[in-house]
């Protein structure tokens, strides 16, 4: 796996941590650089201050050749000054550049020539200014292990000697390393605090992304589950992503449902067309046959056997005609408009069936004014659905009807507490000759479907463990073109 393929859960903390590290190191480095500079400067300044005050005190002592007091002065300067720890030695040289006195007399013997002390002192002796009014001279050679500050011991233009304040560079480094240790310590502490925060933050940022990724991956599979919006209740980009996902999911579901509906209605339309054409094809010869039988019965003198046979034929053909008539649902019949009293009639009509079954009916109708809907057809739909519901509910069952109108549509909901229907049953519900009971010809729902569809409405069925429900919506303003005109007979 390549580095960039790593999960953002790790990549984000890594990037964050890397940035923090780089920032911390950069800051530390610049501070350390500054600190080193300051330290260097301070050290030199302290050495100069120490040197100046000591040199002033040394002048009269050298003038009176008070070697011991000069020693006490340089020793005192060395031990009492704040920067005593960093100053290694104070050495006084006379004008012949011989040691007059040194705070470190073991290393610098009295009267010893400066050039013979060591290579660094020899180098200093060579470059040090010797004029009475010379200024402070600092020698900080890169190859030397000491830094030297040389000050003239002079007064009123008379120079008696030179004071050299020497300090070892290791002191500088020692101090610096202490600072460095502190800085590293603080940096590590900061990182110890920031890195877990970054790791936590990265995880926290990435978890909703993982969730949503997982959900998106499952879209279209059986495992597809909705996302609880409270998982990520914030309005940032991730929140927007969640909202977009939810929106997309709803749209996908709608599209799915629409596709299913289109397929369903196309299928139903095809079935309708087929049924209608067969019915027509049957109807035409059927009319002729029935006419012929009628003529035979009226004008021919059939014997008894023939009479019986013709009657049998006539009944059979009538049955066929009824069936075919039932298949050819005609919506363009003249009919008075539907009003509230039609519902009362329907209630009366189904009362017998209710009574016979012992089924309870809950009736709720709120239709205030007349509608534009044809009463005959709507009554047929209502009766079909109610009788079906009563049969399905069975004894001690419950059937509810709820009907209401608004400006645009009539909505009728009929449900029952009978056995739930399987999804397979629901899918074939409105096809002709579909019967789930032993009674009936299986055309009731087909007729309902045809009527509702031709009136520009919708009929839907859904079923769960508690209820099976049929919902009919019919537009009050008739649409110019019914959705399925093909199945209408001429």
């Amino acid at each position: 796996m390549r580095l960039f393929d790593l999960s953002l859960r790790y990549k984000m903390p890594l990037w964050g941590g890397g940035l923090i590290l780089v920032t911390a190191l950069t800051l530390s480095a610049s501070f350390m650089w500054q600190a080193w500079d300051n330290l260097h400067h301070d050290l030199q300044k302290n050495a100069e201050d120490l040197g100046r005050s000591t040199a002033r005190a040394l002048f009269p002592l050298m003038l009176h050749d008070e070697v011991w007091q000069a020693f006490e002065t340089v020793s005192l300067s060395l031990t009492s000054s704040d920067n005593a720890a960093q100053t290694e030695s104070l050495v006084v040289f006379d004008n012949q550049l011989r040691v007059y006195i040194s705070s470190d007399s073991q290393a610098h013997r009295l009267t010893q020539p400066m050039a013979s002390l060591d290579a660094e002192f020899a180098a200093l002796a060579a470059v040090m200014p010797k004029a009475p009014d010379a200024d402070v001279f600092v020698r900080d050679a890169s190859d030397a292990s000491h830094i030297y500050v040389a000050l003239p011991i002079a007064s009123g233009g008379v120079r008696l000697g030179t004071l050299v304040v020497a300090y070892h560079k290791s002191v500088l480094w020692q101090r610096f390393s202490q600072l460095l240790r502190n800085a590293v310590g603080i940096t590590l502490l900061t990182l110890a605090i920031l890195l877990p925060i970054t790791a936590y933050w990265g995880r926290r940022m990435m978890r909703p992304m993982q969730w949503i990724t997982e959900r998106i991956r499952r879209v279209g599979t059986a495992d597809d589950a909705s996302v609880n919006p409270s998982l990520y209740p914030y309005g940032d980009e991730v929140g927007l992503l969640y909202a977009a996902y939810l929106d997309m999911r709803v749209k996908l579901q709608q599209k799915d449902a629409l596709e299913k509906e289109v397929i369903e209605s196309e299928r139903m339309a095809a079935v309708g067309r087929l049924t209608a054409s067969i019915a027509h094809e049957i109807n035409n010869p059927l009319g002729g046959m029935l006419n012929a039988i009628s003529t035979l019965k009226r004008h021919g003198n059939p014997d008894l056997v023939t009479q019986k046979t013709v009657s049998l034929l006539e009944r059979g053909l009538s049955h066929i005609r009824e069936t075919v008539a039932a298949l050819l649902v005609q919506s363009k019949v003249k009919s008075r408009p539907l009003n509230a009293s039609d519902f009362d009639d329907v209630q009366v009509l189904v009362a017998h069936a209710l009574k016979k079954q012992g089924t309870r009916l809950d009736w709720s109708v709120s239709i205030t004014s007349d509608t534009t809907l044809p009463s005959t057809l709507v009554r047929q739909v209502l009766i079909n659905l109610l009788l079906n519901a009563i049969t399905a509910a069975g004894a001690a069952g419950q059937v509810n009807l709820m009907a209401q109108t608004d400006e645009k549509q009539l909505k009728v909901v009929i449900d029952n507490t009978g056995q739930p229907m399987s999804s397979d049953q629901l899918g074939r519900l409105f096809e002709p000759f579909t019967s789930f009971t032993n009674e009936g010809n299986g055309l009731g729902l087909w007729i309902c479907y045809q009527i509702v569809t031709q009136l520009g409405g919708r009929i839907q069925a859904d079923s769960n463990a508690e209820r099976t429900r049929f919902t009919v919506t019919l537009p009050l303003i008739p649409t110019d073109e019914p959705p399925t005109p093909q199945n209408l007979p001429d």
Partner: protein, 282 residues
């Protein structure tokens, strides 16, 4: 009238208090030189209190770093008594009277120690230090100046050119410091000071080694300025002699690293006189 009487009473009171103050006696002034560990200020304060209580007189110690200054004080009669070195005593022979001599290690004697840094294992006498850096205590010091110079001269050399570099520290105690710190490669020091320092600061004396010990000399004497009254002289001498019989005095002697005081005699210092003669001094 009442005011006049009050005024007279006040005058009488003033006169009476004056006489009472006079009865307490004038201050006795004692000069101290660095012949001993003269920087033990707390000890000096106790000794002064002790002398005050014994003498029933105010006592003042006057400390001077240089022997010459003490000599001047005596000559100018600015002090009554002084604890000085043998050499100044002999120089001032006509101006002072020997008051008492301290006993160190049971004897009224001390000697010069030739000390070198402890790292120097070879030096056995001053002759081995030729061309070195040498610390003197004081030009009026017996053990710290006269003795080493006498020894050099006895060895046939010139004390003025014998050493590469010499300097004065103006105190025996600092002479020891000079050798201990390595500033000087050798020095001659008062044996009493060295022994006393060894008791209180053994760390310093441990950095030095005694390379050679001189003959014994009379211990640095306590002297009285010649104009001191016989009564004061006697009283002071008595107080010093009595120190060892007094618990507080004995305690002080112990801190001074001394055993007591004896009247002493000028003959104790004949050895020093001989050396001085070598340098053409009386």
């Amino acid at each position: 009238m009442i005011t006049l009487r009050k005024f007279l009473l006040l005058i009488w009171l003033f006169a009476w208090s004056l006489s009472a103050w006079a009865a307490a006696g004038s201050t006795i002034r004692i000069a101290m030189t660095p012949a001993f560990l003269h920087d033990q200020h707390a000890m000096l304060a106790q000794w002064r209190d002790y002398l005050q209580s014994q003498l029933k007189r105010p006592v003042e110690f006057i400390q001077r770093d240089r022997y010459r200054e003490t000599i001047d004080l005596l000559q100018q009669q600015k002090v009554d008594f002084a604890w000085i070195c043998d050499y100044p005593y002999l120089v001032l022979k006509d101006d002072v009277k020997l008051l008492a001599v301290a006993l160190h290690q049971g004897k009224p004697n001390y000697q010069a120690y030739l000390i070198v840094p402890a790292t120097d294992k070879t030096t056995r006498s001053i002759a081995d230090l030729k061309g070195s850096i040498f610390a003197y205590a004081d030009p009026y010091s017996n053990t710290g100046y006269l003795v080493p110079r006498f020894e050099i001269k006895r060895g046939g050399a010139d004390p003025a050119t014998f050493f590469r570099r010499t300097f004065f520290t103006w105190s025996h105690r600092k002479v020891i410091d000079a050798v201990a710190s390595g500033v000087a490669q050798g020095a001659s020091v008062d044996s009493y000071v060295w022994e006393s320092l060894a008791k209180v600061r053994p760390d310093i004396t441990a950095k030095t080694r005694i390379a050679w010990k001189s003959a014994l000399f009379g211990f640095p004497p306590m002297v009285a300025q010649r104009n001191v009254s016989a009564a004061d002289f006697k009283r002071m001498q008595q107080v010093l002699m009595d120190m060892q019989n007094h618990p507080q005095g004995l305690e002080l002697l112990k801190r001074l690293n001394l055993d007591g005081f004896v009247p002493g005699s000028p003959q104790l210092y004949d050895g020093v006189v001989d050396m001085m003669r070598q340098f053409g001094e009386p």
